[in-house]
Symmetry: C2
Subunit: 436 residues, 2 copies
């Protein structure tokens, strides 16, 4: 089957990231979508600008209509951002029967009602997962996975820049201005970070989330919005003393006959997962009446995480265009004839770090014997603690953390340790995973 | 349009929860799916047994074929569990052209290849979100939202019983046997908890997750599997001293040309989100090459969370059966003609708790003045701290946490406090959200 032809409006961070991901993972994506995705055209304002991606094989132009009016283009991916000309171009592409994938939260929050209305009439898809929380599939989750629930409320850390600044104020004891400067230096805040700081960006995203959570029209003008620029380091410190962290939240709540929509800093109990979301990460807590509370956590911005959401939307559209409804998503996510026969490792081949607890007779030389055995097998030790024997015990527990080692070597080591005269019970071993 | 007709095999915890959710949220579900979902038939072994749901209006039988062979039934929802007769009934329903929704991880892990093959040939859907991690949409996320990624690895707390026991051992200093007894008493472990304790249940789920993550066939027999029954309270204590928590994990990792599939207890650094998943909650960390690390957290079991996943699957099937592909999922999740006009509250009507920081002249009576103002407006105080003035300051910061109060009352209180002679700068206020 022919490749689906896509045109890009804009090849900056998100557009460039999308090109890179489509290229790097083309085989994986083809196995999933059952059809190739070809970027045929791209609109760039300045052809001489250096890009994060190569542009070979793509027809470039500085005229957006070269994409929007091309009858061969089936999907327009819009990465211009802002309200105009994005709105006009999207509506024009829809009028030509093209599907839209966009990362533009502003245009969806402010003109989504008009855009969706047009798309519904034309029978085309408008996909916007990348508009909220980068790589985290919060749109798909609320729209599809929560379909059986009445959503009671949701609360999210949905602006990475604000969250970076608040985390930095908390962990590094910086003032707002110092933390903002730090964010700009690291590329986490733009030269003009106004919309991040004053809450507008979070309000765009909350507008979208609240509409899909409650089935209400997009109502950006009804969102109460407060930024983080008034937070003083003293507030961070006092909040900490009281067992709280300050986070910038977007909150949508169904309460009685009304809906609350608000974006503002808030104290959050420090034991909560949301309180521990640091740096530029995003997280959204959704409370459904059936599912209960659910948290989605991940990278909320950046070229590749946002591209991950864009490509997921592209694959969704391609699947819908390609397969009969019953086979839209393959059962295992990959086309049945594209499953791989990659072999599964035996456990002896697996490498992990280890925790060992060894119960030894309290006599000299035991520790030396154990470390020698580990050393002979080239197992290096990360930490070792000889615990105090409790009460009248004649056995001393020795606790060891090792660096990463092949299971086979560890099996040998444990067999030898258990062969020592001073070791009279089984060595306890638990694998250690750093999750990194 | 006619309702979609569904037959249930089994009306226990999951089947009963599904009936309750479909009934309670029928309006919300209709607004989303654009079509009613009618439970026409249900198979129950014992009609006299008390149920968590009413069964009025449903044709009951103790013969599974009354559902599987009924030409009017379009979707069979299987909640029998276990391998047989579930496998045979599912295959027979597929042969009759019916779609399947199931919560049965064992039959998918062991017979999924055969079932999907049959379904693919018949062009019917088999949906199994409820088989893994209850209400958390981990199947949908990996299969659709991660479609642009090469999944590098995933690690999950995917058995609530094991996690409850380990949490209980850690927080309450209980032995394994004591914690298991506690889990059984609270209904978190079954009378025969063998498959939870020995890791088999987690291995079923990991088999499914690894297939959709890597595009490999389901290979339950290749999963290395270790349970939690050997963990001693000493291990929990030593791990804690070293900065770790012990969790029972399912891990699938793509490494070189091989794939690791393993289920076992593991030490996890205590700062990690996964280390802080307590009780019967589930969480899955997925690392995609584009999306980066992503965590999904929520209720992994129980009638309602599992029903949430079942109903999401039902809505997915109904949407695919009903709409043209381009309009399968409405843009805002709800049908365009079913958006609600529920009003958005003004911020003055919103109730939250508050943090206040008041900078006061260091003179007697200020605290009394402030608390009197709050009392007059019926704002009750949760905590109050007068901080030490730092250095040569003549101002003392007073920090107050209030209980929940209407914003309007708080505005009045702040205006009055700022009117006090001893208060010479603006009162800092930050809302406080318990996220509960």
């Amino acid at each position: 089957m022919d490749a689906v032809k896509v045109g890009l409006l804009g090849v900056g961070t998100v557009g460039g990231g999308t090109l890179n991901v489509l290229r790097r993972n083309s085989e994986e994506i083809f196995r999933r979508a059952g059809r190739a995705i070809a970027i045929e055209r791209a609109v760039v304002r300045d052809r001489t600008k250096s890009r994060i991606c190569p542009l070979e094989g793509i027809q470039l132009s500085d005229d957006p209509l070269s994409v929007v009016d091309d009858p061969d283009i089936q999907i327009v991916a819009e990465f211009i951002g802002g309200l105009e000309p994005a709105r006009t171009l999207i509506l024009r592409a829809i009028a030509h029967g093209k599907h839209i994938v966009t990362a533009n939260k502003a245009v969806i929050a402010l003109h989504g009602n008009e855009i969706f209305d047009a798309a519904h009439k034309e029978g085309v898809m408008v996909a916007f997962e990348a508009a909220v929380a980068g790589g985290i599939p919060v749109i798909k989750t609320v729209r599809e996975a929560m379909a059986g629930n009445r959503v009671e409320w949701l609360a999210g850390i949905i602006n990475g820049t604000s969250n970076f600044i608040l985390s930095d104020m908390y962990h590094q004891d910086r003032t707002f201005d110092e933390a903002l400067a730090q964010a700009q230096q690291l590329g986490y805040a733009e030269a003009d970070p106004r919309f991040d700081i004053d809450g507008t960006d979070a309000a765009h995203k909350l507008t979208i989330l609240s509409a899909i959570a409650f089935g209400i029209p997009l109502q950006f003008d009804k969102v109460y919005c407060e930024g983080i620029d008034r937070i003083h380091p003293d507030d961070a410190a006092y909040a900490r003393q009281l067992g709280y962290r300050i986070k910038h939240l977007g909150i949508a709540r169904h309460i009685g006959e009304r809906i609350e929509l608000r974006v503002h800093p808030a104290l959050v109990p420090e034991r909560k997962l949301l309180a521990n979301v640091d740096g530029v990460m995003n997280a959204v807590l959704i409370k459904g009446d059936a599912a209960g509370p659910m948290v989605l956590y991940g990278a909320g911005a950046g070229a590749e995480p946002t591209a991950s959401a864009v490509v997921a939307d592209l694959v969704d559209v391609v699947r819908a265009l390609t397969a009969d409804p019953g086979n839209r998503v393959p059962h295992l996510g990959f086309q049945p004839d594209a499953l791989s026969d990659r072999s599964i490792a035996r456990i002896e081949e697996v490498e992990t770090a280890y925790y060992l607890r060894i119960s030894a007779l309290d006599r000299p030389g035991v520790l030396a014997d154990v470390t020698r055995i580990l050393g002979d097998l080239e197992i290096s030790i990360e930490a070792i603690r000889q615990q105090e024997p409790s009460g009248e015990q004649t056995h001393v527990p020795i606790v060891i953390l090792t660096h990463s080692v092949r299971e086979q070597a560890m099996n040998q080591a444990i067999a030898r340790i258990q062969g020592l005269e001073s070791i009279q019970s089984e060595v306890m071993r638990i694998r250690l995973e750093t999750l990194e």
